[in-house]
Symmetry: C2
Subunit: 270 residues, 2 copies
């Protein structure tokens, strides 16, 4: 009943904290795992971040985020590939076995074109990822982000891509926020099976006051998180359960108290 | 090049105008068709609205909106069915051959349950609609509205429902705003074929500043409207092309000038 062994918190969930503060607070609160966002590494530098994480005893679940492959120009697409290779190096340095890919989209360009750029981009990064021992998780984003953040908007599309790339180093990330509405979700989770590399939870608020930064703590919204967790479990997923919440409201609160509420919500609602 | 013969404007597009003002302005601007929202009928009353529309010479494309069938209680579902029957009477009174259904969703209730309520609700309203000579258009809404506005979030789901109900009085409404992101859209439009009862256009802004009321005028966003129009045309649709834009920004503008910009955008971007 008090099993936090699979609980992971994203540094973006407690965005006001520096990486050092997040590491200390998670460790103190008995949160065993952390997903690190790159912008929380930058201020302290990669080496110091890697050292702090290593010494903390926290398990690093993943690095967020790679992706953003589509671009108008060849040069733009190469820049994205180079940046993803750097992300692989960062993931390896901090001991993250996985990079989550927010795949990208160029406003006004066809989504099919974006998906080709994404496939090509992942294929280009893949040898480097494999050599570094880092997996790549294709995260479908909610269709509300199809204009500018991701041309991959259903688990079906992500599954198609993972199957096309057919590498043990590429899989999918299931995030309840992005996928809960999909009538095909149960089937596509079953299809993904062992390709599910990570699992993100939060909630969908009614009303949602801001498209980017008004996610809910589990229980604050309408998502049947338990049902999706059962589907993911049935598909064979046994990894960490990652709390990823972008919320201006929650970021404005005392983060230590908020972390305790996250733990409670994790026990009661996931 | 100046063919406005299929142009229809929704009264909600020029929301600040009363129905009388909208009728006068559309007629003066050479907009031949109007879709009437029920809240624009209420202030003047149904009889007066019907008379004004009849005398205007405008073609009434549809009545917006019916739907909102899901409810926790049996009584709530019956209330919705009764209200939809009244909408049928209103549509018949103003000479609208179609009611567009925003199907509804109850936050926190399973979407599958909502879809059952929707199917049952439409089936319950159907005899009355048929008797009145009014068709019912199932409009899939963007997944961003799955929490509280519609459990029908893809054209596939709407097509499934229309095929299940198998009546010439039930079909689907294709709105580019709700469907543009869907990787299956071309296929599902072809599948819908003659079941396409109406076609709505506007645009998706980047960034979208408000989930409800920040739609763009055609050309202000990222949707390839022409491509979707081609698909709809290929499916056999020859009806009006309806401009439905909810926009705090555009509602704050001079509506007469805005209507001229709508006409220009219709010619250049649809």
């Amino acid at each position: 009943m008090n099993d936090f062994s699979r609980l992971c918190v994203h540094t973006m969930t407690t965005k006001p904290w520096s990486l050092t503060e997040a590491i200390d607070a998670y460790a103190k609160a008995g949160v065993p795992a952390i997903t690190v966002w790159r912008q929380h590494i930058t201020p302290m530098g990669l080496e110091a971040a890697a050292k702090a994480l290593r010494e903390s005893g926290l398990r690093v679940t993943s690095l967020c985020r790679g992706g953003f492959f589509p671009a108008i120009s060849e040069a733009g697409r190469q820049t994205a590939i180079d940046d993803n290779r750097r992300a692989v190096d960062e993931a390896a340095a901090i001991g993250a076995p996985l990079i989550v890919l927010v795949c990208g989209a160029v406003p006004g360009r066809p989504l099919e074109e974006g998906r080709r750029h994404i496939l090509d981009g992942i294929a280009a990064v893949l040898p480097h990822a494999q050599a570094a021992g880092v997996k790549l998780g294709i995260e479908p984003l909610h269709p509300v982000y199809a204009d500018s953040r991701s041309a991959v908007n259903t688990l079906k599309t992500a599954n198609d891509m993972a199957e096309t790339l057919a590498s043990p180093w590429v899989g999918v990330t299931v995030d309840v926020y992005h996928l809960w509405w999909d009538p095909d979700l149960e089937r596509e989770i079953a299809r993904a099976g062992k390709n599910i590399l990570s699992f993100h939870v939060c909630d969908w608020r009614t009303p949602t006051r801001d498209i980017l930064n008004d996610r809910g703590l589990m229980g604050e919204g309408c998502i049947n998180i338990r049902q999706i967790r059962r589907w993911v479990t049935r598909a064979g997923f046994e990894g960490d359960i990652e709390v990823e919440i972008f919320s201006d409201e929650h970021w404005a609160e005392d983060q230590t108290q908020y972390l305790e509420r996250i733990k409670t919500a994790y026990l009661n609602r996931v």
